[in-house]
Amino acid sequence: MAKKFICEQCGQTFEAASMPDKCPICGADTSKMKEVKSKGKGINTNSNVYTVVYASVMVIIVAFMLAFVASALKETQDANVANDTKGQILTALGYDKATINVAEVYSEKVQDNLFVDGELKAYEGDFNTTYGSLIKNGELHVFTATTAQDEKAYVIPVVGRGLWGGLWGYIAVNETKDKVLGTYFYHESETAGLGARIGEKWFQDQFIGKPIFGEDGNVVLTVVKAGAAQAENEVDGVTGATLTVNGVSAMVKDGLTAYAKFLSGGECPAEAGNEECQEVECEQTDVEQ
C-alpha cells in the first residue's frame, strides 16, 4: 500500500511505496521528508457518507440535549414565570416586587376572579400566565385586591402588540372603576433602551390617577408623543419608540374596552355613560362580593 509523504521544503505531498531518497518535486533530501500518518481511523472527512452521518448524529445529539434541558427545567421555569406574573400584578398595585415575598403577599392581598354574566365569581383553576386568548374567548379575569396604600382595587390583564413582539400589562383601577391606580407593562422583544423603556417605572407611574372613560363612555386613556401630554387623559410616550408606544396605547384602549362591561358596572353598554345606571350596577356588584 502506498504511503503518503510530505516534503517540508516545498510543502507538497506525494505517494510512494517507501521513503524516497529525495523529493520528486523539488529534490530535497530524505531529512526533509516526513511520512503523513492518516488521522484517526483514517476516515475521509470530506466524503458524502461521513458528512451526512456527521450532520445527522450532531443534530440528534443537540436535539436530545435541548429536549432534556427543556424538560428537566420546565417545572422550575414555570414556577418562576408564575411567580413573576404574580409579581407583575403586585407591581401594578404599587408593591415593590424586589423587596417583598411575592407568593405570600399575592395570596394574602389578591383574589383571582372571573367576570361571568355581569358578576364576579372566584376563579378555581390553575393560575394563568397568559391572558391573550382568554380575553378573546370572553373569559375575563379580574383580580380583586388591596393596593400597597390599602385601597380596594381591581386589576385587569391587557395584551397587545409592540414593534417586534407581544406586549402585556396589568392595570389596577380604583373601586369606582373610573381611575387608574397603577399599571405594569412589559414586552417580549422591544428594542433595548428605546421601546423596552415602557417596562420602566417612570413610564408606568404616569398612568396613576388618569381617568379611564370620557364623557361619551368610551375609553379615552391614551399615550401620546413624548412631552406632548396636555389633557388629563394623556400620558407621555417614549422618545424614539413611537411604534412601541402606539402599541401600548392600543393595548390599553382595547384591553379596557374588552372589560367595558365590567368597568361600567354590569349590564350598562359602554356607550351609555348613564350615571344612574352605573351607580345601581356598582351597588349590585358590591353586594355580591
Binding site: G40, Y54, L66, Q77, N83, A192, G240
Partner: protein, 208 residues
C-alpha cells in the same frame, strides 16, 4: 504555565482589543452595536454575553475542528452556537429568572452576531482550545469596549444619564441645555462608531 501564556497566546488575547478590534478594524457586529447602545446598561450586558458565548463556542469548535466535514462547517458552527445560547438561556430562566428577563432580547442577537461566526471560522477551526478561548475572550471584550464607548456617549448626550442616574446637573437644564434627541436614534450610533473608527485608525497609523 509559561506555555499557557506564550507570546502567541497573549497576542490572540490582546490583538482584538485594539489593533485587530472586531468592530473598528474588522467592522463586524455593527448591527448589534446599533441596536443595544442607546443606553449604557444594555451595552454592557450585551458585551459580556457575547464575550462568554464567543469564548465557549470557540472552545467547542476548536475541540471538534478535526472531525468537522469541510462542506458543512458553517452549519456545524451555527448549530453549536445556537445550542449553547439556548441551553444557557434555559438555565438562566430556571435559576436566575431576573437575569433571563433582562437578557431575553439579546439571545437572538447573540446567535446571529457575525463576530462569533467570524472567530469560529477564522480562528477556532485552525487553533487549539486554549488559544481559541483566549481569542474568544479578547474579541468579546474588544467588541464590548466599543459598545460601552458608544453607549456612554449616547446615554450621556441623549438622556443626560449614565446607567440610569442623572449626571447632567439641573442648573445646566435651567440654563437652556437640552438632551439631544438625535442621540437616541439608531442612526446616531453608526455615526459614533464611525468617529471611533476614525480616531482608532489615526492613532494606530502613527504606531505602524
Amino acid at each position: 504555565m509559561s506555555k499557557l501564556f506564550s507570546n502567541e497566546n497573549k497576542a490572540a488575547f490582546t490583538n482584538p482589543l485594539s489593533m485587530d478590534n472586531p468592530v473598528t478594524v474588522q467592522v463586524l457586529g455593527i448591527c448589534s452595536a446599533l441596536a443595544v447602545t442607546s443606553q449604557l446598561k444594555p451595552a454592557i450586558v450585551m458585551g459580556l454575553s457575547v464575550t462568554v458565548i464567543t469564548a465557549f463556542s470557540n472552545v467547542i469548535i476548536s475541540l471538534l475542528r478535526k472531525t468537522i466535514p469541510n462542506r458543512i462547517r458553517i452549519i456545524v458552527q451555527l448549530v453549536v452556537v445556537a445550542a449553547l445560547v439556548t441551553i444557557v438561556s434555559q438555565l438562566l430562566k430556571a435559576y436566575v429568572y431576573d437575569v433571563s428577563v433582562q437578557l431575553s432580547v439579546y439571545v437572538g442577537l447573540i446567535i446571529t452576531n457575525c463576530i462569533l461566526m467570524g472567530r469560529l471560522e477564522a480562528f477556532a477551526m485552525q487553533n487549539g482550545p486554549w488559544p481559541s478561548f483566549l481569542d474568544g475572550i479578547g474579541n468579546g471584550l474588544g467588541y464590548a469596549a466599543i459598545l460601552v464607548i458608544v453607549g456612554f456617549v449616547r446615554e450621556l448626550l441623549g438622556f443626560g444619564t449614565l446607567l440610569g442616574y442623572n449626571v447632567i446637573p439641573q442648573f445646566l437644564y435651567d440654563a437652556g441645555y437640552k438632551n439631544n434627541g438625535m442621540m437616541v436614534m439608531p442612526a446616531m450610533s453608526l455615526i459614533i462608531v464611525g468617529c471611533v473608527i476614525w480616531a482608532h485608525r489615526s492613532i494606530n497609523k502613527e504606531k505602524k
